[in-house]
């Protein structure tokens, strides 16, 4: 029973990691760089809710959710327009350093506004649902549901719409896609919009589940990285499975390691994958594609 509960906790956590990882890998697939500032989209999405709930707007939690997501999307697009687009032709390390700087800037700006302390949403206290020894809370169910809906939506987008197919083509081969006249700009916006939306949604759910702090984005970014690398950078379904794997592995590890080593698992996965199979478990020939 103990292990089953850990598995449930793991799948819940994994769904959110999958959301983050998919966003990160979409950006990598199309733009070919590791966006270190992705974590801050998570944090700003979560804190965005507080921003809209505070005066002068004073919205209730429910009404503040959509504006918060929109804020994150705007932020993601702004980052691209102001920082990443001018660097499109630079090498990957320059982009990585710029994204590290951006992440530092956004995290500090958030601390400037909200302080460095732990905060939480003004939610009431409710007992979870239980079956015998197992329990799960409403928010945890929402996390899984949200991941299913968003990722399901993404699947439809990628396979059924023209934009989605264009996205896949661009991530396969950006030069050729440009020559073929595919709408690169729209694809770019879509990717940033989706990545930011997924990040913000995940961040808000995490905030509802536990609490918010300025470092929550960075902490989850590492898990997203691990998932992306596990699944093969650029591979959306790899990222999804990678996210679930990391979530489950983390939570099961508590049974053998001390809880203080929980975060260690994601890092260890990163190191092991990079050393043994850098292209990821699900890499296909000519990897880097969004399949």
């Amino acid at each position: 029973m103990y292990y089953l509960q850990l598995l449930i906790n793991g799948l819940v956590a994994g769904s959110v990691y999958a959301l983050f990882a998919v966003g990160l890998t979409l950006v990598y697939g199309v733009f070919r760089f590791i966006n270190f500032a992705h974590g801050e989209l998570i944090t700003w999405g979560a804190y965005g809710v507080l921003l809209f709930m505070a005066p002068p707007l004073g919205l209730s939690l429910g009404w503040a959710l959509v504006p918060a997501c929109l804020l994150a999307v705007a932020l993601g697009l702004a980052c691209d327009r102001l920082v990443y687009q001018p660097l499109r032709q630079s090498d990957r390390v320059t982009l990585l350093i710029a994204s590290i700087g951006l992440s530092f800037f956004l995290r500090s700006a958030l601390q400037f506004i909200f302080g460095a302390d732990l905060t939480s949403y003004p939610l009431g206290l409710a007992r979870g649902f239980s079956w015998g020894e197992l329990s799960i809370t409403g928010v945890q169910l929402a996390m899984v549901a949200c991941a299913v809906i968003f990722l399901g939506g993404l699947f439809l987008l990628l396979t059924r719409t023209r934009l989605g197919k264009a996205l896949r083509a661009v991530s396969d081969n950006p030069e050729l896609a440009g020559i073929m006249g595919l709408p690169l700009k729209q694809v770019g916006w879509t990717v940033w919009g989706l990545a930011s939306l997924f990040a913000a949604a995940g961040g808000i759910l995490l905030g509802m589940d536990t609490s918010l702090d300025p470092f929550m984005g960075l902490a989850n970014l590492i898990k997203a990285f691990a998932a992306v690398l596990l699944g093969g950078a650029g591979n959306v379904w790899g990222a999804l499975l990678g996210g679930l794997f990391i979530g489950v592995a983390e939570n099961l590890s508590v049974a053998v390691l001390s809880p203080g080593y929980k975060d260690f698992v994601a890092f260890a996965v990163i190191v092991v994958i990079l050393l043994l199979r850098p292209q990821g478990i699900f890499a296909l020939a000519g990897s880097g594609g969004v399949r």
């Binding site: 920082v83 590290i100 302080g115 203080g260 260690f264 990079l274």
Partner: protein, 290 residues
């Protein structure tokens, strides 16, 4: 006067730290984003040994050897990765090290940290005994800079720069690329360990919270801002960063505003990194191309 000495000592430690990163990043093109791990290994080794009664100078030597060894061991597996993935791997390694330091209480006292670290006997133990410690740090920093200057023009340094520019050319010229990179990593790590040991004996209290990603970002900023690939670039970067940090702390702000100092520092540093990458990725001091 004493406050100036404190800033000087901090700046000199950062000079050593950024010089060591520059050896890997600037000369060798190795984007090591886990540099703080070597800093931490140096600090903890020297602190633990000197708290156990080992004379400080011996503890410091052990510290730089331990850090150098870590750099050497990390190099072999990590160097098979390219550019940004190498950066991610080293970053992950540094965080793993920090989590280890945080959890293994029997060894490091975990989050409780190590208080009461002694100063070297010849510099005096009191908090106010700064002048001798400052001289000691200055001597070490000067030695490190001389070493880096020598390496830059020595065959090792020149070969390293060829590797940085184009590995294939280097290989065609008969250079053992992997061995060169490993030596760069080990040497850089060793010097970072020295900086760590110095720092531990200066502040007299360390804990895992001092060795986070933020420190790596700061050192990266020093190197990239000042001008990577040169000897004086990281020195300039270190001085600018440390002075800026301390000046901000000195501002006569009323107490209730002191919580804004750290975020403002962070925003400025982040912006500087971004602007640098956008406008002048080579940093302030350009490298001479021979």
């Amino acid at each position: 006067m004493d406050y100036l000495l404190r800033i000087l000592i901090l700046a000199l430690i950062y000079v050593i730290l950024s010089g060591s990163l520059n050896l890997q990043l600037g000369y060798g093109g190795l984007y090591n984003f886990g540099h703080v791990a070597f800093f931490a290994i140096g600090a903890y080794t020297s602190a633990l040994l000197s708290l156990a009664g080992v004379p400080v100078w011996m503890a410091m030597i052990a510290a730089l050897l331990a850090a150098g060894l870590a750099g050497f061991l990390i190099a072999f597996p990590a160097l098979r990765l390219s550019g940004d993935f190498f950066g991610i791997a080293t970053l992950a390694f540094a965080e793993m090290a920090r989590i280890f330091l945080l959890n293994e209480r029997w060894l490091t006292r975990g989050p409780l940290g190590l208080p009461g670290i002694p100063r070297p006997t010849f510099t005096g133990q009191g908090v106010g005994a700064l002048p001798l410690f400052a001289l000691f740090t200055l001597a070490l920093a000067a030695a490190v800079l001389l070493l880096l200057r020598y390496l830059e023009s020595a065959p090792f340094g020149r070969a390293l720069k060829v590797v940085r520019e184009d590995e294939h050319v280097a290989q065609a010229l008969g250079k053992d690329v992997l061995w060169l990179k490993v030596r760069a990593m080990a040497c850089g790590a060793l010097l970072a360990g020295l900086a760590g040991a110095l720092w531990a004996h200066y502040v007299t209290y360390i804990s895992p919270h001092d060795f986070t990603l933020e420190t790596t970002i700061l050192v990266l900023l020093c190197v990239v801002l000042g001008g990577k690939g040169t000897v004086w670039g990281p020195v300039l970067g270190a001085v600018l960063v440390v002075v800026f940090q301390e000046v901000l702390r000195f501002l006569p702000l009323p107490a209730q505003y002191s919580r804004f100092i750290a975020p403002v520092q962070g925003m400025v540093f982040g912006l500087v990194l971004i602007v640098l990458m956008l406008r002048r990725p080579q940093g302030i001091l350009p490298e001479h191309r021979s």
